[in-house]
Structures are given as structure tokens and as C-alpha cells.
Amino acid sequence: MLWYLGRRLLQVIPVFLGATLLLYALVFLRPGDPVAGLGGERGLPEAVQAQIREQYNLNEPFIVQYLLFLKGVFTLDFGVDFRGQDIMDVIGAALPVTFQLAIMALVIEAVFGVLFGLFAGMRKGGWFDGTVLVISLLVISVPTFVIGFVLQFVMGVKLGWFPVTVGRDPNFYSLLLPAIVLAATSFAYVIRLTRTSVAENLSADYVRTARAKGLRRSQVTGRHVLRNSLIPVVTFLGADLGNLMGGAIVTEGIFNINGVGGTLYQAIIRGENITVVSLTTVLVIVYILANLLVDLLYAALDPRIRYA
């Protein structure tokens, strides 16, 4: 187990370096000069431009810039953006609300996805299974922003059950509807994954053995069908946490949430490369950690993994 953990932790290093290098290269090798565009119509004086270039190490070769950036990551000091705001503060303002939103969405899709998938899989071909399949297909095929606007209009504007937008002061209640919207697509996938997995496990030999022992149906389902079916689902959920955090841009836009998505979008528009890379790096770290967690959870769910 310890060797497994150690090996997985070591694997994090090349993944982190590779991902950030790629990000940095993509952003900084893109055409256009971020500094030249800063002054708008009139442009900035040469001296100021030179100073800014100096401040952001823009005159250094690419690899030096990257190494300096890495140094910033490890000292938790990304520097300031073009407006003079500390990037750590920018991240600190945006990350928590997005994180809360993503976790809420993850819980929603996990709990309801597994539950619906379990019941659908137990009675494959039944009316519940059919209904769930059609609904999940619908959810998968309709873009998130459509689901978002429709739910916002019906639940928020017409029925008034939920706040229409979130705004400056996010709380659990106001984030609930956005979390449902964010979870929708993955929820449909979790249902389908669980359903297939459950249906497959139901006809597994060890399930028959469990029934032959005299276990009640609920015991067979809980101990032998569900646990074994969760293994692929957990893998999906872990990878999805990263998607939820990065993919919240649309949902955050619809519900006016000042999260990572909005901040990132603004930074890209303004050409604040340093903010873009810093925020994305944080997302990369979250993604890596989530996957590490999944692998450990996976080992806990399936004892055969431990020594592999």
C-alpha cells in the first residue's frame, strides 16, 4: 500500500510539470503582444511598456520565464496582474465559490446518479429503466446553457423557488440551482454507467453464490452488487471533479457567479496571461489531487489493486 502510494505520488511530478509547461507555452507563444494592447487606442509610452516587460520578465527566453513562473508556484507568489491586483487575492476570491459549486454538483450527481442507476439496472427493461434512459439521453443531448436558462426561467423567474442569480454573496441555497445545472450532464453519465455496471454484476457468478447462501435480496444488492458496481463510477466521478471546476464557466455566466470561470474569461479577454496561467495551474493541481484521491479510493474499493 505504501509503495503504491509512493509510486502514485511520484507520478504526480511529471504530470504537473508537463501540464504547466504546455499551458505556459500555449499562452505565451500565442500571437499578439499583451503589453502593446494595454493602453487602448493611444497606446502606452515606450518607457512604461519597457518597464512592464521588465516586471513580467517578458524579455527573458521562454524557458527562463517558465522557470521563474514555477518558482512563483512553489513560493505561492504569482505576482500581480496588470491592474496591480495580487493574483493570489484574485484566486482567493474566485476559487472557494467555484469549489463549493463543484463539490455540490459532484454530490448531487453521485448520490442521485448512483441511486437512479441502481434502480434502473436492477430492473433493466422495466418502465423506470426506460424513463430514466430517455431522460438521461435528453440531458446529454441538450447543451448546458439551454438547461441552465430553462431551469433559471422556470424555477427562478416563474415559480420563484430559487434565487434567479447568485451575485456577490453566494450561499448554499442560492448555489443549489446552479449546482443542479452543472451536475446535469455528468448525472446522466453516472446513471448510465451505474446502470450498465449493476446489470452486469447482477448476473455475476458471485452474486448467485451470495443468493445461494441465503442472503436476503437487499443484502445481496448492497454488499455484492452495489459495491462492485461502484468501482467504475468512482473513477468517472474523480475525473469529473476537474471538469466540474473548469467547466463551470457557462453555468457561472448564466447565474452571475464570480467564480473561476468568470475570472478566467475576463483574464483571457484582457490578455492577462499571467492570471490565466496561474488560475489554470491551480485547476491542474486540483485535477491531479482529485485523481490521486480516486486511485486511493479505488484501491480501497477493490483489494486487487493494492499491490499492483
Binding site: 457468478d205 447462501k213 436476503r216
Partner: protein, 593 residues
């Protein structure tokens, strides 16, 4: 292996009147199946898997249902505990257990009976234990579900006791392990512990050892015998092997296409089978055929006439004393080492799969490589086929070192040696038509034009006794035996000199197996083929091989002509293997018929 049976499960005294058939005299059956009808609904309509079966089991009695795949034997057994797979349904007849009708019983009442009254030992130990729970936990479940009285500690002790009883030493530690840490035999012992955990009156053993090595199979069946006898448990034994059934059960029920075609005392059925199907089965079962030869040899007779009629064709080849011919394949000191990655970085251990193995296959002869799983027989075969490079040692084909071939020569070499593998379901591409499957090697080696190749495919189908119309079909439309014929036709396509048959008949039903062996014999005679026959089944070896190489743990244990190995085995391991052929303990008189 001492066995103790602590009486812990309330209402059921244990060990009373040890010995089989302690109540067989009384007229009250434990299990009575009358006119049982079971059917499955498929997309092509309703399939009647069991059609009017009658089976009676008395308390403490052992009854075996014998039949080939699709005969309805397993379905009948699963109907008894209401564990029919998929759309299976009892559509008629009755099943009474201990005087109580089971068919139509509410789910909760069936659940209460399972484990407590009727236990199950399933077929495949690899898939029947849940990989994510500890062995002990899975046995504990069985105790908890069936009203075991006692706390956690008593339960743990009982689990250890059950494992010990099933023949697993060091049971307390074993109970904390996971299934993947167990060998097949150990898993099957755990499943026996589960089946007997609550001391059921009836134990259904569904091919309990067919997935295991023969020697392990014997040990486990012996153990199960003793155990159920001491507990007075009635056993309903499901098997495809008539020899095994006759050896293990007092009463036989022969099923064919969903019907019971014959039933009666085991010895009587063997000696005097009434139904034509049973007669064919008695004649073809390799274990029985092998035993027949054995008995005949002991009585000083020639073995040839004693083989099943189906197999007589193969005999002239073996017996005609093929003139000493040139060696076609010579393996010299073959060694194959695999390195296995360990749990920690850099830690790897070397595993010698094949260790200094030498053998010679003569032109036109059949050499059998015999061994249990892990003996290295398939690895050796793969090296002969050139599919695996030996770590050291040499394979000589027709006098030339295979390793020294240039790529072009190696390609030409492949035409001269062809394989047929065990699983006829896996070795044919399901998206290829039969024609394409057989034609592929011809096309690959650019043999002839399109028309000539088609002619050759027709010829090959004739050779393996399949209609030419089979060409346009796909593998899923054919039976296992037919698919194996296709695989043989494909192997023959390039007119090879050697065919490596890697467990080529192991997956087939006995009658089909006999047909394929006959086909192989005829082809050998016609085409002068040499066979390298890889198998775990010594009974089959007796029928086809000229000489035998017995392997164990990667090494050659014994090497001699077939008759010598069977009549005069030199090594203990060979003797163990021979003793493990089911039916070895049967009286000569009973099977000589």
C-alpha cells in the same frame, strides 16, 4: 486433515448416523422432482431447457446428473433453489423438498431455505467468490443469513472451523485473505465451506471441480465425499463426466436435450446402459475408455478392439508400428524465464516457466505434452510455434535451428507448422465469415489465385466433414464442435507438416470430443501429419498419442511411449495423475461391457 463438526446450528444434529444412505431405506424422499419443465424466453422464442424431468433424492443419498452442455442438467439443479439465470422459469411440474412444494413459494421463504436447507457449491471457483470481500467475511455472511446464534467471536471461530473442515490449514489467517490471494483449489474449498456452513440437508454440487487440475480435483472430491458422508448430507452432483459421476455417486440420472433418458444405480448403468445415448456416452467417455484399456492390459489383451467404435479409426495409426522415421521437431534444453515485477520499484523475481525441457516429435507421430496448469506445457508449445523466444535452448525444425532463420525463412517456416487452440469461441474472429477465416492464411501467404483459394477452402471443409455451404456462415452460427473443425481446417490450409494442438478438445463435450479425435486420427493417416498434443487430460492422451512427455513445474518428469507411461509409470507424479483420471477406482467388470 482432521474433521470436526461442532454442533452449533440449533435444530440440526450433526454426525448422527454417519455414512451414506443412512436413511435410504425409508420411503420418504428428501427431494422429489416430478415432470419438471423449465423454459427460457429468448429473442427467437421460447426454449424448453428441461422437459418433464423426474429425479428423486433420498436423505443422505448421492445422486449425479450426467449430461453434455445444453442437456438441462445445471438448469434442473438451479430450479431447485430458484436461481435460474435470466429469463429462466419453471413452467410446469413440481419440486418438493422435505415434503414441501418449492415451486411458486414466495421469495422470502425460498431465501430462508437457501443455505439452511439446500447448499450450493458452484462450478467456477474463479468467478464465484466476490473479489472485494475477504474470504472470512463471505463465509460469515452465510452464517449470519441462516440464523447462526452467537456473537462476533463465536462467528469468527466458526468460520475458521469451517475452513479447516474444508481442508484449508492455517484457517484463521486464510480467513483474512482475499480471493485473489487464493489458488483455484483453495477457492473451491472456501466455496465448499460456504455451501456446508449451515449444515444443509442437501448440497448441490454443480461441476464443482471441472475448472481445476486433475490431482486437485481428486483431493477435493475425496474430501467432499468424506465430509458429506459424515454430516449425512445428501448430494446432488452435476457433471459432464460419466466416469466421475459413476465413481462419486450411488445413483445416476442421465439427461439429454432436457429429458431424463435413463436413471438407476451407477454400476448398473455403466454395465448395462439401455438408452442409445447412454450407450454412446459409456462408449466414448475418455475416462472410461482409458480405464477399459487399463483393465484389458492387466488381463493381457490387446488394447485396440477395446476402444470406442468412434475411436477405432485412430488406432491403426498408433498400433501399426509406424516405421521409425525422421525427427521433424526437436526441442533441446528449452528454457524460458519470465521476470515478474514486484510490489516495490526495481524488485522483480525471475520465474522459470520452462526449465531445461527436451523432446522429439517424429514425422507422422503424435507426441503429447501433459501437465497441470502452470506446468509450462503451453509455454513450451509457443516456443515450438515460434511465438515466443526461448531464453536458452534450441528448437530444431526438420534439422534447422528455428532461431537462425532469416525473416523470410521464418515466414516460410510458419506455413509448415500451424496451431489449433483450446477455445473454439475465442480463436475465430466473429466478424469473419468461415470462408474468410479459412482463406486468410492462404491469402497471407499468397497461395494461388482467388478461384484456387476458394477451391481449396471447399476441399478443406470436406476434409473436416463440414458442408461447403458453411463457408458463408459466421462463427456464432456454429456449435463448439463445428468451430473446432473450422479451426482445424484453417490450420490445414497451408498444408503444414506439424500441427500444435493446444488443449484442442478440452472445451468440447465428450461425444464431440470423440468425433474430433477421430477426425484428427484420419487426417494424420491421410496427410502424414505430426501432432504436438498439449493437454491436461491423460485420458485423452491414451486415445491419441504415441508417446508422452509429462511436465510439472516447468520440468520434464517422465518421458516414454504411451503404453509404457500408462502401464508402468516410473514417477510418483505420473502415478498421481493417472490415479486422478475419474473412474480409475471403478471395477473392471462394471465397465468392460
Amino acid at each position: 486433515m482432521t474433521t470436526q463438526f461442532p454442533v452449533t446450528n440449533g435444530n440440526q444434529p450433526v454426525g448422527e448416523g454417519a455414512g451414506r444412505s443412512y436413511e435410504a431405506g425409508t420411503d420418504k424422499p428428501l427431494l422429489e422432482i416430478r415432470d419438471l419443465e423449465v423454459s427460457f424466453t429468448t429473442s427467437e422464442g421460447v426454449v424448453h431447457a428441461v422437459r418433464g424431468a423426474d429425479i428423486t433424492v433420498y436423505p443422505g443419498q448421492s445422486v449425479a446428473i450426467v449430461g453434455e452442455s445444453g442437456s438441462g442438467k445445471s438448469t434442473t439443479a438451479h430450479a431447485v433453489i430458484d436461481l435460474l439465470p435470466g429469463t429462466g422459469k419453471v413452467t410446469g411440474g413440481s419440486i418438493t423438498f422435505d415434503g414441501r412444494e418449492i415451486v411458486g413459494l414466495p421469495r422470502t421463504e425460498i431465501e430462508a431455505m437457501r443455505g439452511r436447507d439446500i447448499g450450493l457449491v458452484p462450478q467456477d471457483p474463479m468467478s464465484n467468490l466476490n473479489p472485494v470481500w475477504r474470504i472470512g467475511t463471505q463465509i460469515e455472511e452465510a452464517l449470519k443469513a441462516n440464523g447462526f446464534e452467537g456473537g462476533k467471536r463465536e462467528r469468527k471461530e466458526r468460520v475458521a472451523g469451517l475452513l479447516q473442515e474444508a481442508g484449508l490449514p492455517d484457517a484463521e489467517r486464510r480467513a483474512r485473505q482475499f480471493p485473489h490471494e487464493f489458488s483455484g483449489g483453495m477457492r473451491q474449498r472456501s466455496l465448499i465451506a460456504i455451501g456446508l456452513a449451515s449444515r444443509p440437508k442437501l448440497l448441490i454440487a454443480d461441476e464443482p471441480t471441472s475448472a481445476l487440475d486433475v490431482t486437485v480435483q481428486r483431493q477435493i472430491l475425496d474430501h467432499l465425499d468424506v465430509l458429506t458422508q459424515e454430516l449425512g448430507t445428501a448430494v446432488l452432483f452435476i457433471t459432464h463426466d460419466l466416469g466421475l459421476a459413476a465413481e462419486r455417486a450411488e445413483h445416476l440420472v442421465v439427461m439429454f436435450k432436457g429429458r431424463v433418458v435413463e436413471s438407476g444405480p451407477a454400476q448398473q448403468i455403466l454395465a448395462n446402459p439401455q438408452h442409445p445415448y447412454t450407450q454412446r456416452l459409456v462408449a466414448s467417455a475418455p475416462s472410461l475408455a482409458s480405464r477399459r484399456i487399463q483393465v484389458a492390459h492387466e488381463q493381457g489383451e490387446e488394447s485396440d478392439e477395446l476402444l470406442a467404435p468412434d475411436l477405432e479409426a485412430t488406432v491403426p495409426l498408433r498400433a501399426a508400428g509406424k516405421a521409425a522415421q525422421s525427427d521433424i521437431v526437436v526441442a533441446k534444453n528449452l528454457t524460458k524465464v519470465f521476470s515478474i515485477r514486484g510490489g516495490r520499484p526495481g524488485a522483480s523475481t525471475d520465474f522459470k516457466a520452462v526449465d531445461d525441457v527436451s523432446f522429439t516429435l517424429q514425422r507422422g507421430h503424435t507426441l503429447a505434452l501433459v501437465g497441470e496448469s502452470g506446468s509450462g506445457k503451453s509455454t513450451a508449445a509457443n516456443m515450438v510455434l515460434g511465438l515466443l523466444d526461448p531464453t536458452s535452448g534450441v528448437v530444431e525444425f526438420d534439422g534447422a535451428d528455428v532461431a537462425k532463420y532469416s525473416p523470410k525463412e521464418a515466414f516460410a517456416f510458419r506455413r509448415r507448422i500451424q496451431p489449433v487452440f483450446q477455445n473454439p469461441y475465442g480463436s475465430l474472429d466473429p466478424t469473419f465469415s468461415i470462408f474468410r477465416s479459412i482463406e486468410e492464411p492462404l491469402a497471407l501467404h499468397r497461395v494461388g489465385g482467388k478461384r484456387e483459394r476458394e477451391k481449396r477452402v471447399r476441399e478443406l471443409l470436406d476434409m473436416v466433414s463440414l458442408p461447403q455451404s458453411a463457408m458463408r456462415r459466421f462463427p456464432n452460427e456454429l456449435s463448439g464442435g463445428q468451430r473446432q473443425r473450422i479451426a482445424i481446417a484453417r490450420a490445414l490450409a497451408l498444408r503444414p507438416e506439424v500441427i500444435v494442438l493446444d488443449e484442442a478438445v478440452s472445451a468440447l463435450d465428450v461425444l464431440v470430443q470423440a468425433q474430433i479425435l477421430e477426425l484428427l486420427g484420419n487426417l494424420q493417416e491421410e496427410l502424414g501429419l505430426s501432432y504436438l498434443f498439449i493437454t491436461h487430460d491423460l485420458a485423452v492422451v491414451r486415445q491419441i498419442a504415441d508417446s508422452v512427455v509429462v511436465m510439472q513445474n516447468g520440468r520434464v518428469v517422465e518421458q516414454a511411449t504411451t503404453d509404457e507411461v500408462f502401464d508402468n509409470p516410473r514417477q510418483q507424479y505420473t502415478r498421481d495423475l493417472l490415479a486422478a483420471i475419474p473412474g480409475a477406482g471403478l471395477e473392471g467388470a462394471a465397465i468392460a461391457g
